[in-house]
Each structure stands twice: as structure tokens, then as C-alpha cells.
């Protein structure tokens, strides 16, 4: 009885080892609960679609996703990362959404030398001063999205700009990027406001200042509930049509658009992806995604999709081998493809993505409010920003 039991356990162990050799394990740390749950869902769906389309088995090894909920808490995200590395022995990691969770994971993956592919978190430092050979970002840096808007707005004839963003790191980093570009081009920042992140319900005091100063344009970054409230109050306050509203494109993300309605029209934003990009790849991607999920793919879905495709293409280059992590990262650097958001590749100098940035305007056609692309800045690449590998 006892020997049978021992043999059975040993068999289980052997099976586990055999399976570990067969499958390629990808540990995924994303928020599946809390305020960012919809982002985590979009990224996972996008990644899954990439594996469906470009191959979920490489050189006889099946790709397996092991997902963990980060709960948008740094310490939870770090514990889950350690679990994936030590217990599940994953070959590489994907995650997270929030920059604070990424900050907690960064030192650990750097020391453990496990490749981590970030599909969202935009903190400049992650591919700047705090960059790591093992941390690769497929999404954006806060700087990358906003930097191009300064010179662009100046070219459009704006000479004075008013900045407004929620009072947290991302808000400050984005405004800093615009300020630099705009003042270098010759423009002037005539005022700035940083309302508290969670407590702000009423933007009237801030909007009153904007109304009094009358800048050529207002440049903002808000997301989530704040994005919805801000856009509505901007209209209610009578600023719409008076002072052009510009900003980081998440303001009118497909997630918030239904609640914003026609108040969103006229907004000019910059983003790495909008659903209406006119290209073969994007039409095919949107068709494939809506066939599977009956909804429009967001910028977060694309970031997940490209992350999945990057992994597949890199694994094809290493013939499915994952033991040599340095070779895997080197393969990631060699991958080039045309994504729904345009040409996609990773900059070996910073490990940040090099991508096109789209400048769009929200316009109403019939009952539809759509992102209409009005300009594109090609191949936007971050400077090293103090990154030494």
C-alpha cells in the first residue's frame, strides 16, 4: 500500500517534470479585480488572440499562461511574481498595468534575471534611469505619448498653453513632457493645476482660472472617473468651443466614451493607438477581435496583442528554447513586425517600444462619436534618459 503510494507520488513528480519541459510557461501578473480590472481583461484577451493567430505552440512546446491577480497593490503584485518564478518556474513574465506595481516587481526580476514584458505601466524611469536588461516595455512611456504634442501644438499656431492633470506621478511626468516640447518650440506655459487624484469631484475652481487666463489651448491628462467628470464639466462650464481642449488621448478612451457622449467632441489627443487607424493590419485585428469578443478592441487590447505576438516571434527565433534568458531577450530585440498600431520594435538601448504616435480629433458622424486621425508622428523613440544597461 505504502510503496504503491510512493510510486504514485514519484510518478506525479515525473509527469510534472516532463510537462515542464514540454510547455512554455508565461507568468501573467495583471489586475483582475479593482479599478483596473477592465484593463487587465483587455490585455489578457489581446494576448490570447495573438497566440490564436500567430501560434500557441512553438517547436513542439505549447504556450501556457498562468495568470495572477495583482489587485493593483505593489506588495501583492510582488508576492505573486515570486510565486510564479519560484513555484511555477515560469519562463518569462508579463505585467503589470500600474506603475507602482511595476516598481515593486522591477528589482526582483532584475536580480532574478527573468524577462518581464510590461504591457502598460508608463513610468518613464522603468526604461530610463531604472532600466534593466530584463525589463521590456511594449506599451509606452509617459514621455513618449506627450512629448510630440508640444511642438505639434506650436505648429498649429498655439502660443500659450495651460496644463492640468491629476496630482500623481503619471500626471506630473506627462505634463513635464509637454512643457519641455512646447517651451523648446517657443511657446509659453501660462498656468498649471494638479487637482487631487481621487477626491476631486468639482473642477469649477480650476476651470474658472483657465477661463480668466484664456490660454490658446488647455492640455490635460485624466483617466477613469475623473476623465468622465472633467469632459462633462468642461462643456457645462462653457469652455467648449472657447478654449480648445487637448491632451493625452486616454481622456476619451473607448472605455469612457459612452458616459461622456457628445461632450467629448472636439478633443484633440495623442495616443499610441486608436480603433479607427486606417490600415490593413488594424482592420483585420479589429475584425478578429470583435468576432471573438463582440466589442471594440481598445489601446490596452493592442498592447496585450503586440506583447503576445512579440513573445511568439521571439520564441520562433530561439526555436522554442527559453533556458538561455539572455538569448531570449536578444531575440526580442531582433523582432520587427507591423502591428495594428503601425511598425513595432523594441529599442535595445532602453528596452522601450519604438512606435507611431497618432494625433486624433473626436468627431461626431451621425450618432457615432469617433476618433478621427488627423496626424501621425512616425517611429517615436525615447532618448536613453539616463538608462545604462
Amino acid at each position: 500500500m505504502r510503496s504503491w503510494y510512493v510510486a504514485w507520488i514519484a510518478g506525479l513528480g515525473l509527469a510534472a517534470v516532463a510537462q515542464a519541459e514540454e510547455t512554455i510557461k508565461i507568468g501573467v501578473v495583471l489586475p483582475y479585480s479593482g479599478v483596473y480590472a477592465s484593463l487587465g481583461g483587455d490585455i489578457t484577451d489581446g494576448m490570447q488572440l495573438a497566440f490564436d493567430l500567430y501560434g500557441s505552440e512553438i517547436a513542439g512546446r505549447k504556450i501556457v499562461l498562468i495568470t495572477e491577480d495583482s489587485e493593483v497593490k505593489p506588495n501583492v503584485g510582488l508576492t505573486k511574481t515570486k510565486k510564479l518564478v519560484f513555484q511555477d518556474k515560469v519562463d518569462l513574465l508579463v505585467g503589470p498595468v500600474a506603475s507602482n506595481v511595476a516598481g515593486a516587481m522591477r528589482d526582483f526580476v532584475h536580480n532574478a534575471k527573468i524577462p518581464l514584458i510590461i504591457p502598460n505601466a508608463g513610468n518613464n524611469l522603468l526604461t530610463g534611469e531604472k532600466c534593466s536588461p530584463w525589463v521590456i516595455r511594449t506599451s509606452f512611456s509617459n514621455d513618449q505619448i506627450n512629448r510630440v504634442m508640444g511642438p505639434w501644438l506650436y505648429e498649429q499656431g498655439h502660443r500659450t498653453l495651460y496644463l492640468m492633470a491629476a496630482d500623481y506621478s503619471a500626471g506630473h511626468q506627462m505634463m513635464e513632457a509637454v512643457r519641455r516640447g512646447f517651451t523648446e518650440a517657443g511657446g509659453e506655459i501660462v498656468g498649471e493645476e494638479y487637482p487631487p487624484l481621487r477626491e476631486t469631484k468639482d473642477f469649477a475652481p480650476y476651470l474658472a482660472k483657465v477661463k480668466a487666463i484664456r490660454p490658446d489651448a488647455l492640455y490635460v491628462f485624466f483617466a477613469g472617473g475623473l476623465a468622465i467628470q472633467f469632459v462633462k464639466q468642461y462643456q457645462d462650464f462653457g469652455l467648449k468651443g472657447e478654449i480648445p481642449l487637448t491632451g493625452a488621448g486616454w481622456l476619451t478612451s473607448p472605455l469612457f466614451l459612452p458616459a461622456q457622449g457628445t461632450a467629448a467632441t472636439g478633443f484633440i489627443g495623442a495616443l499610441n493607438y486608436v480603433p479607427t487607424i486606417d490600415s490593413e493590419e488594424n482592420r483585420a485585428f479589429q475584425a478578429a477581435f470583435s468576432e471573438k469578443h463582440q466589442r471594440t478592441a481598445s489601446e490596452f487590447t493592442v498592447q496585450g496583442f503586440d506583447t503576445g505576438r512579440l513573445i511568439v516571434e521571439a520564441l520562433k527565433l530561439t526555436s522554442g528554447k527559453t533556458a538561455d534568458k539572455a538569448a531570449l531577450v536578444e531575440a526580442i530585440h531582433r523582432v520587427h513586425f507591423t502591428s495594428p498600431r503601425g511598425p513595432f520594435r523594441i529599442d535595445p538601448a532602453t528596452n522601450n517600444v519604438i512606435q507611431d504616435i497618432y494625433i486624433f480629433e473626436m468627431r461626431q458622424t451621425g450618432y457615432d462619436i469617433r476618433h478621427v486621425v488627423i496626424d501621425k508622428i512616425a517611429d517615436v523613440q525615447d532618448p536613453p534618459n539616463g538608462c545604462k544597461m
Binding site: D69, Q87, N100, D107, L197
Partner: protein
Amino acid sequence: MIKKRALANRDIAACILLLIAIIAWFRADIFGHELLAQISILAIFAMSLDLLTGYTGLVSLGHAAFYGVGAYATAGLAALAGWPMWAVMPTAMLLSALLAVFAGVFAVRLVGVFFIMITLAIGEMVHAFAFRSRVFGGDDGLGGVPRINFDAVGINLLDPAQFSLFTLIVAALVYFVAAHLVDSPFGRVLVGIHQNESRMRALGCPVRHYKLAAFVLAASFAGLAGSLAAQHNNFVSPELLTWTTSGEALIVVIIGGIGSLVGPAAGAAVFVMLAHHLSGITDYWMFFMGLFFVAVVLFGGDGLYGLIGRMRRALTHARR
């Protein structure tokens, strides 16, 4: 001068718990050691809150402020200022205690729900400071926090197994000190204040001074837990300072058994293991954790420690 303590039931339970922890340490894999370190740190934090809530009867919703100050002081002094860790840890405790002196002077004048509200406010103030602080990375947090270095004696705390053993030893020491404290005349006065504050005052006891002392002591142990947490994660963020962190500690204390020291330590183990296993099964694990908490409160409210005590008494009765 102080009479030698009789070995209380509580101490026997603590020895058993320590034994279980040591067995777990020998059997654990790398990730098991990570969990054990997490449990030990939470146990220190929960025991420190138990000193305040369980023994002195002051329910605090701002205890995370002191935990966070310990963590942020460790990050600031070690990662930014480059202090050696042996100096950092006592300083972190001292800074937590210092904040507790300033906050406590006002807080101990209040009782009941007002005490809860002012501790909550203190916690939120510290959180807001960390959230906006450029130096500490604001809401993105600050990485690169080193661990205390024992290389000279051949101990490498970067190894999860050795670090978890280190935290376990610190937790055991904290229990030892705290147990002596609550059994000392000082601790008896605190319990007296908990049971009947007016009578203690009528007896001529300077109640506020004792409350302040308990507040500061609890805060410095919380600071120690925070310092260890910063070293464990090599990272600090304002999340450590949110009032939900305080609430979580309170839940751990209640699950384990309020006012028993060893109960909250066991509660920490139950909480971490339950969260780990439940979150592996379902994304809605907090719902089940909530159900468990409600069940614990309904079954007498004296937590696991009380439950075990009652089971033992029932068994001895049955044997007779």
C-alpha cells in the same frame, strides 16, 4: 524585584506556534520561505496593534502610519542617504515612536469612536505626504531598499530561507518582549485602564500617560515591522500607509484572538495562507475572506485563541 512569571497558557501556545513555524521553515521551498517572512512581519505588526487594542483597549485605524513611517524611514535612510542598516533599523523605530508621541498627545485625550477617527486622520495625513513626496517617488514608490547585512558572520539575508528565519527570530523576540511588558505591573495597569478607566483614574493612576506610553510602544514595534517589510520587498509605496492596511491588521488581530498576543501571530499565519490559497482559486477571494471573518466574530469574537481554549476546556470536562 520582578517575580519570575509562571508559564502561562499563552506562552505554551506561543512555543507550539514557534515550533510549527520552525517545522514549516525546514519543509518550505523558496516561495514557502517568502510566505513565512510575510507571515512573520505581519505577526509583528499585528502583535504591536494588539498591545494597543487588545490590552489597552484603544482601537486604532491609523496603525499603518507607524508601519509606513518605519518602512519609508528605512527606504530613505538606506536607499537615499546610504546609512548602514544597523543604524537604519533603530532609527526607523525611533522615528515611528516620535511620530506616535506627537500624534498620541492629542489622540489619548479622546476615547471610543473619536480615538478611531483621529488615528484614521493621522494615517491619512501620512499617506497623503508619501503620495505627493517627490523624493520618495510619490505614488510610484521607491525601490532599491537593501536588507540588513550579516555577511561578516556568514549569513546572507538575500537568500529567502535565511531572511525568513531572521524575520521569524525577530517576531519571536518581539513576542518575548511584549509578553513581558503585558505581564509587568505596567501592563497590568494598561489592562486595568481597558477594563475600568474611571476606577483607575479614581485610584490616582495617570491614565493618559499610560495610554501614551502604550501608543508609543505599539508604534515603535509597528515601525520595526515596517522596516522589515521594506527590506523584504526592497520597495516602499504609499499603499503601505493606506487605512486598509490598518484595517487588515485589525482583522488579523480579531481572527487570532484580541488581547492574547499569540493569537494575532497565529492570525497572521491564517490570514496570509488563506489569502494565498483563496486567491489561487478565485478572483473573488476577499468575499470568502469576509465570510470567514464574519464566522470568527459570530463564534464568540475571541478568535482562534479563544476557540482553542474553549475546545481544550470542553475536552478536559468530557474526560472527567
